[in-house]
C-alpha cells in the first residue's frame, strides 16, 4: 500500500467517520440491508425475462459474484499490464 494514514491535524474536531466503531456500524448496516434485499425476493411478483431470473436472489448473487470476479480479473491484469508511471515518458 502506498497510502499513508495521516492523523488529523492537531486541534481539528474528530469526525463521526474517524471513529472505527462507526465505520463498523456502516458495514453492519450494509450487511443488514443486503440480507433484507436478498429475502425480499420472496415477497414480490417476479417478471422473469430469463429462466436465470427465477432463481431465488438472482440479481443479488449475480451482482456479488461478478464484482468479485471483476476485481480478481483486474488484479490478474495488473500482473501483465502494469508498468511504472513514467513508462511512456522514457525513451525506448
Amino acid at each position: 500500500m502506498t497510502q499513508t494514514h495521516h492523523a488529523p491535524p492537531a486541534g481539528e474536531p474528530k469526525r463521526w467517520l474517524d471513529d472505527k466503531a462507526n465505520v463498523r456500524k456502516i458495514i453492519i448496516a450494509l450487511f443488514v440491508v443486503c440480507t433484507a434485499l436478498f429475502f425480499a425476493d420472496a415477497f414480490y411478483e417476479k417478471h422473469p425475462v430469463h429462466w436465470l431470473e427465477e432463481t431465488f436472489g438472482f440479481h443479488a448473487l449475480y451482482g456479488f459474484v461478478m464484482c468479485v470476479g471483476l476485481v480478481l480479473g483486474a488484479k490478474v491484469m495488473r500482473v501483465f499490464l502494469m508498468r511504472d508511471e513514467d513508462y511512456y515518458d522514457r525513451d525506448g
Binding site: 502506498t2 495521516h6 458495514i27 443486503c34 411478483e45 440479481h59 443479488a60 476485481v71 483486474a74
Partner: protein, 572 residues
Amino acid sequence: MTAMADLFLPLNPGIVLILAGVIAAALPERTGRWFVIAMPVVMLGYLYGVDLGNHAPIAFLDYQLEAFRLDALSRIFGTIFLISAFLCNLFAMGDNVDRAQRAAAQIYGGSAIGAVFAGDMITLFVFFELAAVASVFLIWARGTERAYRAGMRYLVIQIGAGVILLSGVLVHVAATGSVAFNHLGLDAPGGGLILLAFAIKCAFPLLHNWLQDAYPEATVSGTVVLSGFTTKLAIYALARSYAGTDMLIWIGALMTAFPIFYAVIENDLRRVLAYSLNNQLGFMVVGIGIGTELALNGAISHAFAHILYKALLFMSMGAVLFRTGTVNGSDLGGLYKTMPWTTGFCVVGAASISGFPLFSGFVTKSMILTAAAGEGHWFVWLVLLFASAGVFHHSGIKIPYFAFFAHDSGKRPAEAPWPMLAAMALTSALCIGIGVYPEPLYALLPYPVDYVPYSTYHVINQLQLLMFSALAFTVLMVTHIYPPELHSTNLDSDWFYRRAAKAVALSAARLIDRSYAAVTGWLIAAIRWAIGIARRNFDPLGVVGGNSRIGSGVVWISALLLIGLVAAYSGS
C-alpha cells in the same frame, strides 16, 4: 439581402455558438465569462421557437445542403448539448480559464451542435472536423509536455477518423448522387468507411484509447467540456445512420465490459472516469444495434442522462484537481472534511451513473436492458447486467471513496469556488430531476414511450444488484484483497502505436542505417581496391608509370599508335 437572409435563416444554433466563441475571445474578461454562459440559454429558447423541419437549404455545386435539420432526434441532442455548454461555461468560470480556452470551448460545443443539426454529410463532416480541431486546444491549454503530446496523438486520430469519414462520404455520393445524411447501414455504398469513422469517434473497443489517453490530460474544465460532445455526437450519428445494425449489439456489449477492468486498477481518477465513459457508451451502442423503438429511446435518453452525470463526475474530480493539484487515488482521501459540497455532488453523480432508483441512470439505462432481454439477446443482457454492477463498483464507489473518504491523506483543501459549486448543484438537480420525474425527458424522445421504470420488481432487482456490488467492494476492502491504488501506467491499446509501432519504426530505421553503412563500406572498399591497382600500375615503379628505361616508354607509345591506326582504318 432578404434573399440572403432567407437562404441562411433560421440559423443553425451551432453556427451562432461558434460565432459567440469568436466574439468571446475579443470581449473583456468579465463580460466574456457571462456572455458565454448566457448564449446557450438564449439558443435553447431559440431552438424551441423554430418549427420542426428542414431549414436553410443551400445549393452547393450539384448538391443540396441542409444546414439546419430540426427533427425529434436532432432536437434532443441539440438540447442536451446546449444544456451541457451552459453548465460547462458556468463551471469554467471557477477555473480561471483564459480567453483562448473559452473561445475553443464555444467553437467545439458549437461545432458539435452544428453537426447534430446537419441534414447532409458534407455539413456534418465540416462540423465534425471543426470540433476535432477546436477541442485539442482544451488539452493543450493544460500547458504540460504530457498534455502537448497527448493532444498531438488525439489530433492525429481525430483527423484520421475525419479523413476516413470523408472517403466514405465521397464513395457514397459517387454511387448514389445524394449527400443526405439518413439511415445508411453497412450495405450502403461507403457504409463501412463511414461506420469506421464513427466507430473511432465513439471509441469502439481497440479504437478507444485516444479517449483515456487524452481526456485526463486536459485542463480542469477542459475535461468536463470534452466528456460531453465528441463521443455523444458519434452516438447521435450512429443512431441516425446505423440503427438496427446487428454487429453493434456485440460491439456495444464488449464496450460495456472491457473498460471496467481497467477502471478498477487505474489510479488517475479522471482516467477511471474516462474508462467508465467508454463503458456507458457501450450501453448506447447496444441500444442502437438492437434498433427497436424502445432500444433507440433507451440509447438516446441514456445519452442525455449520461452527458449530465458524467459532466458532474468530471466536475467533482476537476474541483479536486483544482484544489489539491492531483487526482491520483493514491494521493487523495479524507477530502469530505473540507469539501463537503463537492463530496455530496460527486455522490449524486455516482448514484446516477450507477442507476440507483430516483437517479437519472435508472430511468434510461433500464430501457436498453429491457429491450435486450425482450429481443432475446440473453448473453448480451447478462453482460449488461454485469457491466451495471461493475460501473457501480468502480465509478459509483471507487471514485467518491478514494477521493473523499478512504485513508486520510492529510490534505485539507478549501471547498470548490462558487461557480463550480453552482454548476455541480444545477447538474445534480437535473440528475435527480430526471430520475424522479422522467416524463419530460421521455416526451422529447423520437418515439412514443410506453415504458414504466418504477415497478416493484425492477426497483428491487436493481437495488439487489447494486447493494451486493457494494457488499463485494466492502468484503474485498476489509480482507485487503482489493487492489490498492498505485502510481502506475496500465498498458492499453495505445501501447501498439506508442510502443510497438515506435519500436518497429526504430528498428526499421536502424536496419536502413546499418544497410546504408554496409553498402557504402563495400563501395569504399571497391574504390580503394581500384585505386590500389591504379597506383600499383601507374606509380613511378609500376608497369605503366615506371620510366626506368626510355625503351619501355617507346614501346608503350608505339603500341598506342598502332591501336590508333588500326581503329582509324577499320572505321573508314
